[in-house]
Symmetry: C2
Amino acid sequence: MGALRLSSLSLVRPTFSPLRRLAPLSGGRATSSAASTHSIAKEAEAVTAGDGKASASPLLECAVTPRSVDFSKWYLNVIDKAELADYGPVSGTMVIRPYGYAIWEAIQDYLNVKFKETGHSNMYFPQLIPYSFIEKEASHVEGFSPELAVVTIGGGKELEEKLVVRPTSETIVNHMFTQWIHSYRDLPLMINQWANVTRWEMRTKPFVRTLEFLWQEGHTAHATFEEAEKEALQMINVYKDFAYEQAAVPVITGRKSKAETFAGATCTYTIEAMMGDKRALQAGTSHNLGQNFSHAFKTQFMDENGERQHVWQTSWAVSTRFVGGIIMTHGDDTGLMLPPRIAPIQVVIVPIWNKSDEKTSVLEAVATVHNILKEAGIRVKVDDSEQRKPGWKFNFWEMKGVPLRLEIGPRDVTKKSVVVSRRDVPGKPGKEFGVSMEASILVNHVKLRLEEIQAALLQRAISFRDCNIVDVSSYGELKEAIAEGKWARGPWSASDAEELKVKEETTATLRCFPFEQPEGEKKCFMTGKPAEEVAIFAKSY
Amino acid sequence: MGALRLSSLSLVRPTFSPLRRLAPLSGGRATSSAASTHSIAKEAEAVTAGDGKASASPLLECAVTPRSVDFSKWYLNVIDKAELADYGPVSGTMVIRPYGYAIWEAIQDYLNVKFKETGHSNMYFPQLIPYSFIEKEASHVEGFSPELAVVTIGGGKELEEKLVVRPTSETIVNHMFTQWIHSYRDLPLMINQWANVTRWEMRTKPFVRTLEFLWQEGHTAHATFEEAEKEALQMINVYKDFAYEQAAVPVITGRKSKAETFAGATCTYTIEAMMGDKRALQAGTSHNLGQNFSHAFKTQFMDENGERQHVWQTSWAVSTRFVGGIIMTHGDDTGLMLPPRIAPIQVVIVPIWNKSDEKTSVLEAVATVHNILKEAGIRVKVDDSEQRKPGWKFNFWEMKGVPLRLEIGPRDVTKKSVVVSRRDVPGKPGKEFGVSMEASILVNHVKLRLEEIQAALLQRAISFRDCNIVDVSSYGELKEAIAEGKWARGPWSASDAEELKVKEETTATLRCFPFEQPEGEKKCFMTGKPAEEVAIFAKSY
């Protein structure tokens, strides 16, 4: 049995898709050339074959490209090998596979409850929007018109008015709100929808930026600016809490600069996450829309004094992009690493036997342990397939990022104990032998370990983030920090033009003015003039 | 207090949308004339204004059109006044409002668990499908091409290949299955997706037939015909169980005729429900696709003998149409009537007081009862708004179909009891006075009543259905039954041409060959030749 308990790093991994042929690497550019069978696996294989470094080691031949060698290739490898997603036939689209979708479901389950607790109702708006709607709000059309998918034929006929496949729903929501809102008594109106949206993106990347993606979009209407502002802040905090407490992603919450504000909003709040390659990922946004859309769509109400007023609005969204954020925050060279609270499988049990006479007793013990954990509400899976050896299974479930593995062999059965291995602590230090099978002991032990892993993942990500944010007091320092791939944080009160200059010269963008601000007087690192706030600049996805 | 407890029929109802103007009645025809503010309320008002019978009674002026006067108008009235849905700006589209969406969520919650229990995983496929995919399966393209919405412009450019907004996903699913399935070990592959689909329907009706609708579509691949057949039957039974046990809709399960089989399937199973106007509603289908799509898309696997075989497939779907089925099965002239198991609100509590000194004690008691029921897992709502009188609230929540109403007034507080009213039993017979507020007594009482209502709704629908199915043994008898608006059931072994003749002459279609068949020898009522099965014919939605 001991021989089977090799560290996963010394095992040769088979490729998971032996039938897939090598294909030329595609840049993932969205075009209309359809019907390709371009797969993430093929892209990853092409990558490995063409990369001397990655294929030099027999180990790496079949595992993922190390993060340090090429983070993008590592990301695609993990998505393929952990079976999270695949490319759709239309370039830029993505098929979300069951394991990837289960992570999205965990995100949905948490947020859906929070949205209802904070007074929102789910509903559903049609995805086809008259083209003229998009044109009603000036900055909205400017922001979205280059990205639209347009339906021009319906039921075999050319349409009189072209229809847009929703890129977001502010316009159609306002069209309906205008019909439903009459009096101050109809306010606040607070709704949410879970939906697909389509944006014709040119540079796509699975989960992070795809031609179609899944999201929730909240839309609210209020009687006053203050109420809308409170709502916009409330929702960005709901997202922040989700990120920290469930996904163990230590986002930085803040306000977007004018240049980076949502097309049609007066103010955008954001949660920004640092990925494993130190790039920033905008992981969720909440907009105070002011009265921009209510003016465009004449969404008015009679106030308590009988005066007609335009409503104040918000909208806020989190999308399947967050799944990409989780992968890129926690994953390592062994594959995906999932925080227990959102892991579709929290514990995998791998039975181990050599001789067939050991099998019955091992499988009996496995079934008992499985039931004990399941009844305790732990998401547990038994991998008792006989086609694969335990070592293969260890690697496979590590690739899938399952937080905890239990191994049960004949000796464990005799001792009425199990071996427990943590995904986040490789090798011996992460392994515990002789953990009792007795129900209450085992359940407590597993629950404790899961909580420890949850906390450890968050702590590790916080340390990583904080080590990679540099406080800068000059443009030179910013350039240096960005050149090192880090985030730069410094006082900022310069112009939009100077913000653009930073972007053009460093490719870093102003991610946000963080809510948490240092005390004391500040001078803009660009202009030397007084600044009220520090801003964070970083390269981003 | 007694005066406030009038039967709802004697109260004048205010219109719910006083600001809406009268608009010409639209047939709900799907066109591309967008940006209308055509609402269900307007349609309903136009109906009422133009209908001497309906506006003759002061009661009906503000309530719904009676079912017996005009079932279609009644249906639109209920959808409007119970706030279930509204028309979208593009003709033929529908906005599902929070209360209507909550019914859909109840359907999702139940089915989602059943799908997982039966071994299916959720995932997500892109909605944009290359036009060429649709053309690969001959009968599929024939069935769907007249209904397609086509994207021809993306990111500001004319696309090289037109893209179809999915009307269903068999083609794209098979494209991906072909990449994922290699060996018999990859089978069965059993997935489901919750998604929106778009079909350019010409005659639309909220929930029942809309240009875009929400549904789940299951897709499975198997090694043998028998396995696929077993799966197709399993899923139609999951739907049947949902219909009976949750929605209290006593569907008839059966097999479609060749003419009515899904475009691309070898066999379609269906659940057919009888609506309140005796029309049939196809409420869910499950298809044995045979090898039609696997041949078209070359979806093959290596069997245990090393031979390449085409997979055998199924697909099955239930949509937001089912919400329409629930409305039309249980609703009455007072509005919607919801089976407790799928009711978003199972119990509404209406506090009643006349003098302000009664208010505190009444609201305290209401809060206590609210908590007691909530903690018992009952979906309960308090309507303590002071803008409306209790009588108005009674009507409103009856319109919304809430199964049980609790009334609590000063006398109830003194007696530590509540008044309980059943939605399904109007007037005095449905009212119980003096039901104890004591937690365990009240909870048991409420739970018992909810179960009784659930059972009563099902029983009533079964009786209605069985009274309106006529066994026929000649074409003349069929014509008579159909002319009376009933369903006709009789032995059938005639040709497709004769089936078409029935449709053309009576507008009734062959709904299904029911699984439950009478014993004994049968002679086709059309041809007099021997028949193996009876079939059901009916007018349908």
